[in-house]
Amino acid sequence: MEFNEDRPIFLQLADRLEEGILSGVYPEEGQVPSITEYSVTYKINPATALKGINLLVDAGLLYKKRGVGMFVTSGAREKLRGQRAERFFENFVESMVHEARQLGLTEEELVQLVKRGFDGDVD
C-alpha cells in the first residue's frame, strides 16, 4: 500500500481506518489491528501508526481496552456518516449549486440532473 506525499502519513492512516469503519471492514465493538500490525503491514514507524489511531480515539470512534487492544465504538459508523455527509455538502453540493446558478439552471432542472445520476447514468 502506497501513501502519497501531500499529507502526513498519520492522517492518511486515519482516513483508511475511517473508511474501514464506514464500509464495515471494522464492525462496531470489533477489534482493530494493533499498532504493531499497522506498523509492519504498512511499513511505517509505530509512532506514526499510534498518532493516526489516536486521532480516532480522540474523536470517540475507537476505544482502548486495557491489555486487550483497540475497539470500534458503538455508533461510530453513524457518527462518521454524519461527518462525511456534512463534508459532502461542503465539498460537492455547494460547488454544484454554485456552478448550476452560473449556467442558469433552475432548482427543478438540477434536481432532474441529480435524478438522472441516480437512475444509472453514473455508477
Binding site: E5, I9, T36, K43, I44, N45, A47, T48
Partner: protein
Amino acid sequence: MSIELKNVTKRFGQVEALKDVSVTFAGGKMCGLLGNNGAGKSTLMSLVAGRIYPTAGEILIDGEPADSNRAQGKLFLMSEGNLFPEDMKVKTAMNLAGGFYPGYDKAEAEALTERFELNAKSKINKLSTGYGSIFKLVLALACNAPYLLLDEPVLGLDAQHREMFYKLLLEKYAANRCAVIFSTHLIYEAANLVEHAVVIRKGRILKDAPVEELTAGAYTVSGPAAAMDEYLLGRTVLSESGIGGLKTAAVEGEPGQVPTGLEITGLNLQDYFIALMEKEDRT
C-alpha cells in the same frame, strides 16, 4: 538512554572525516542517518561502536564511554566489514555469536536463516553481496541489542528480501523498543520507517529533526517560468529545474500566498534530501 557525541572530530591522516560533531541519538527511537558517499556516516557509526577512536571529543552510551565493555555489550554494528574470519562457515559464526552479544538468540538466528534461505553451510567469504548482507542482518536481528547500528543494511538485497527485512526490523523494534540508527541510500524505502533523521554532509551535521518536520517544512511548486520567478523571489529555494516554459522548484518554508497558475505539492524525504544537497552544492 541515549548515544551522545560531544564535539567529536575524526581525522584519517590529512582527511577530516568528522568535524566537531555533536549529536544525540535517543534510546528507543528509529533514526535515519542520511548522507552522500563520503559524508561520514560509516565513520560516525564505527566511532560509536568503538571500532575506531575519535581524534578529539567524547562519545557516551547511556552515560558511559563508548569503548567501555558495558557500553559495547549494548550495541550491535552491522557494517561493510565482517568481524568473523572470512573462511568461517555461517553456521559456526552463528554458534559463536552468543559469546559477543549477551541477548543473542541462536534459535531466532536459525529461524531467520531459514526464512531468508541463507545457506548456513557456506563459508562467509563465499556468500554473494546480497547474502553477505543477509548473514549480517540475521545476526543484527537476533542479537537483541538495545542499540542497533545498521550501515547500509539492504546493500545488494533484492526487492523481496528488502521488504522482508523492513518488516522484521519493525517487528523487532516493536518487541524490544531498541534504538535503531539506519543509514541507507534507498531513502525512499526507509522514509516511513524512521521517525527522526540526521543529515550529514562533509563531516558535519546539517539537519537533526523529526522526519515529519523536515518534509512538512518544504514543498514543491511548479508553473510558468515568469510567474515562478516572481513567486520565488526572497524564498529559500533548495533546487530548481525547468522544461520548456515550465519551472519546478523545491522550496523551504511555508508556501504563503500562492498566485493562481502555480501548483503546490508535498515533498518526500528523498526529494527533500536531494534538493538540500543541491542547495549545499551551490553554496
